[in-house]
Symmetry: C2
Subunit: 209 residues, 2 copies
């Protein structure tokens, strides 16, 4: 049975219902811990569900920073130092990832007990336990007119990936890596593969690849 909600209902309902509801409408989201360090050497770690693919040549990622959110420490550190890391979250430490969103005054790595790691002289800290680690350099940011959301573009400089999740065609097996996905504000999931499908062309049957 389908339930219908119009915009007037959404605007009038209790704000916590609205926040949960609207946040779930896009579907499953990526989950990355972003690691940064400020110019005083204090590291920072924060969970993000708004990291997305921007291009492969050159390799670029985008991050959306909502206005007035606590995640702004991450944005400030990136703008100040030019570097950040993306770290996939697994079942082993999704609770720590969630907890790292709390408002700590010092480093979240220490506060939540996740080990930080420095690789190849890269400035920003990685999460030692993570099985996909991406080192990025600040490229550009842009404030969006409508509501002050900040879109930041990062260039991918380094990738470390657990070889058990790397296929010969370059794709990652996120199930094998144990990468976690998030829905809404606070719900964590593992993925279970249905299929990989061949390139779609009119009149051609899809095949599993």
């Amino acid at each position: 049975m389908m339930r219908h909600f119009d915009k007037a209902f959404i605007l009038e309902v209790e704000s916590s219902f609205r926040r949960e509801f609207v946040n779930c409408l896009s579907g499953y989201k990526s989950l990355n811990l972003i690691g940064t360090k400020n110019s005083l050497g204090v590291s920072n770690l924060s969970p993000f569900s708004q990291v997305f693919h921007i291009g492969a040549t050159p390799p670029l990622v985008g991050i959306l920073f909502r206005p007035h959110s606590v995640e702004r420490h991450t944005l400030e550190n990136i703008l100040e130092t030019g570097y950040f890391t993306l770290n996939h979250v697994t079942e082993d430490f999704y609770r720590e990832a969630h907890q790292s969103a709390a408002r700590y005054s010092g480093s979240e790595f220490d506060a939540i007990g996740l080990e930080e790691e420095y690789l190849e002289d890269f400035f920003a800290p990685f999460v030692a336990k993570s099985r996909v680690k991406v080192g990025c350099r600040f490229v550009e940011s842009q404030t969006l007119k409508f509501n002050g959301t900040e879109l930041l573009i990062g260039g991918i400089e380094h990738v470390w990936v657990d070889e058990k999740g790397l296929r010969t065609d370059g794709s990652l097996d996120l199930n094998a890596l144990g990468t976690v996905t998030v829905s809404g504000l606070d719900e964590y999931h593992l993925g279970t593969k249905l299929a990989r499908l061949s390139y779609p062309k009119p009149g051609k049957e899809l095949e599993e690849i």
Copy 2:
């Protein structure tokens, strides 16, 4: 065992490897079929993995359109008519969703055999089978400086959701709804819940909610 790839390797490797690899780095992605109709009345349907939450008050979604992609028909229809729909994809029709990315000359609904549906006099077509349907109105678009990616903002006007997936707090149970998530270019997954976690505060133990 971790494997390391630097930017030079990524830029020099075969382009298909690079495309697969970089596309997977952000993690799991949302999957929505976007329904539109042009001013001649021809409907269009296309799968998108770059739909994300922008705000709840007012309720807004964002979509990234890569430059020079086939998905530009969707963008043109939205700019021309002002309306589009988001439709969650389930296990029942993820193959049709994938196939709808093929370059058809007429309506993808007819070509792939998914029934289109019109609700509440909303201009753009919904996917009849979908269990989460969102009717959106064009608000604003912005071309990003670095590579011509278009960021489009839509205002949520209507939502239909299967009541079996709607919780009393407003959140959606995406597992119960059977919503599919995508990784890379062509790999589809179901989600399996690990937990919902309480709001994180320093010094407070997380609880499952």
